[in-house]
Structures are given as C-alpha cells and as structure tokens.
Symmetry: C2
Subunit: 188 residues, 2 copies
C-alpha cells in the first residue's frame, strides 16, 4: 500500500459513518460515500468489499493485533491475564479514536443488518482469542470459556462506554473484568 | 392452542430438521417439510413465520422458562448462582431431547444464515437473563456481565457436548462455570 493509503481509507470510513448516521445505512450508496470523501468508487472497492464492510475492516485488523498481544504475553501469565491484555490493546485503540468508535457503535446498535454482522465478527474474535490462548498451552475448553468471558466483559464495557462517553474504555474493561471476578467468586 | 398442537409442532420441527440435514437448508421448501410431516402448509404457518423460524421457536420458549427460573431463585442467592440455575433449566430441557438438540446444533454450525440467526437469539437470551437479574436487584452493569458470562459458559458447554454427545449437558454447564470461576480466580 502506498504512503497515503491509510488516510484514504480513513476518509472513506469517516464519510461512510457520517452519511449512515445522517440519512440511514439503507439509504446510503457507495457513490454517495465516495463523493462525500472526494474519492472514486474504484478506490472504495480497493479497500472494502461493500458498504457494510467499511465498518468492519478495522475490527479484523484489531483482532489480529489482539491475537499478537496474547501470543506475546509472558508465558507465566495465567490465561485470563493474557486475554485481558488483548482486550486492553483493543480498548486503547478504540479510545484513541473515541468519537469515531462511538458513532460506529450508535449506528450498529440501530441497524439490525449491521448488528448481525457485528455479532458474527465478535464470534470470530472469540475464536481467534481462544486459538491464541490454546497456542500458549491453555487446555482447549478452558481457552474457549476464558476467551468468551473476556469478550463478554469487553462488550459490556463497550456498551457502558456508549452511555458514559467521558469514561476511559481501557479503565472500563478492567473494571468490568474485576466485577466479573468478584461476581463469580461470590458463589464459592 | 388445541390438545394436539404441541405434537403437531414437534412433528413439523422433526420433519424440518431431517430434511435440512438430508438435503441442505437452502434446498428445502416449506411444502416439502409439511409433506414429510403429513400436514398442511397452512398448519406450518400457524406455528412458524418461515423455515428458519422452525429452529428457533423452541429457543424463545426456553428463554422464557430461564427468565422465570431466575426470577424464582431465592433472593439470598448471588447473581451468578441465580443465572446458573437458569442455565441449568435450559441444559436439562435440551438433554431430554438430546438427539434433536444435537442435530439442530450440527445444522446451525454448518449453515451461515442459521448461525447468524442463532447469534442474534443468544444476544437476546443474554439481554433477557440480564433483565431477570436486574429485577432481582443486581446492579445493571453487573447483571449484564454476569448474564454474558453465564451464557458464555453455556455456549462453550453446548459446543463441547456436540463433540462429546455421551456426556450430560447440565453436568458440562456446571463444569464449565466452575472452570470459569477457577480461571478468573487465578489472576488475583
């Protein structure tokens, strides 16, 4: 990819989110997005499969970074700590682009078609995280449930962040994981 | 509903699952299902919205029973114990219809369209469980993360059951929740 590509993609993403919020996802065409971004349709399709994909390409990339962080976690760390470090990578990345992340969230929550796609994406993130934990030597079923629980904490923190946009997402993820630990510990 | 309705529905469900497994979900029509069950198309649409719905109506009903079980749990029980009791209701119900549940699972796992629908259904179960916990007085964010974690344990146990059909699902759900507690406790 050339030097300006990341910005090109960012421009398309921002234009898409703006238009989706303004006039609705269904009512927006790729041609409108590219016009709004001052770019060509051809450029759009060099970056995205379709107008739904615009909102999820970043998530795929973030998932890869999460998996790498888990793989790079010290071998002595327990599975949940390794998983949490992955969630923190994702949270920090979203915090850096707070407004965009919040707008994207708002949009997905109000568009069933996007919500379905997001649930599929989260299921795939859980699978990737479980795979990364297995690679570190965690037994498979334990890896799966740890990944699912870490993702659950992340999603709950993410929803909460939507309602409390002035809080910091990484902090909320930590808090939610701590709450989960406390709650599960209270049934001993 | 008349006296024979539950059996009518069961016949349609079993006929649908058989045909979906035999010839694929996409290739199966409602007319084929009703012919296979020896019933009319009209009867089919008295019970289900469409051919996808056949596989999920039971899940909606089970969700209601889960919510009721949580509401009926002793007030002194911690949230996770109340949530677990709900999961056990669902696990016991599926165990009673093991072959059907296993076939349904196989089918959903191999049909992306059904997988999407299932993820939406699980999201809605999590919401219902969180709501039931809130009603008992659990703080909202705690209720959400507890519900998500209980569902995560359930789903992992359910997947595992698919690979080990001779195990008992309620037992697997308990084991998975215990593993989750252990894993989350190991990061203290």
């Amino acid at each position: 990819m050339g030097r300006w590509e990341p910005d090109t993609r960012g421009r398309l993403e921002r234009a898409a989110i703006e238009l989706y919020l303004e006039q609705g996802f269904d009512q927006t065409t790729v041609a409108q997005i590219t016009r709004h971004a001052g770019l060509t349709t051809r450029t759009f399709f060099r970056h995205f499969l379709d107008k739904r994909d615009v909102l999820f390409v970043g998530m795929d990339e973030l998932t890869e970074r999460v998996a790498k962080a888990i793989a790079a976690a010290p071998a002595a760390w327990p599975a949940v700590k390794a998983a949490a470090s992955g969630m923190n990578i994702a949270a920090a990345a979203l915090q850096l682009r707070r407004d965009e992340a919040q707008n994207r969230r708002k949009l997905i929550n109000t568009t069933p078609e996007l919500r379905e796609r997001e649930l599929m994406a989260f299921a795939s993130v859980a699978k990737t995280v479980a795979g990364a934990l297995s690679e570190r030597g965690t037994e498979e079923r334990v890896a799966r449930v740890t990944a699912e629980a870490a993702l659950a904490a992340f999603r709950v923190a993410f929803e909460y962040w939507g309602e409390h946009p002035d809080r910091e997402l990484p902090q909320l993820v930590d808090e939610t994981l701590d709450e989960l630990k406390r709650v599960l510990g209270s049934d001993a």
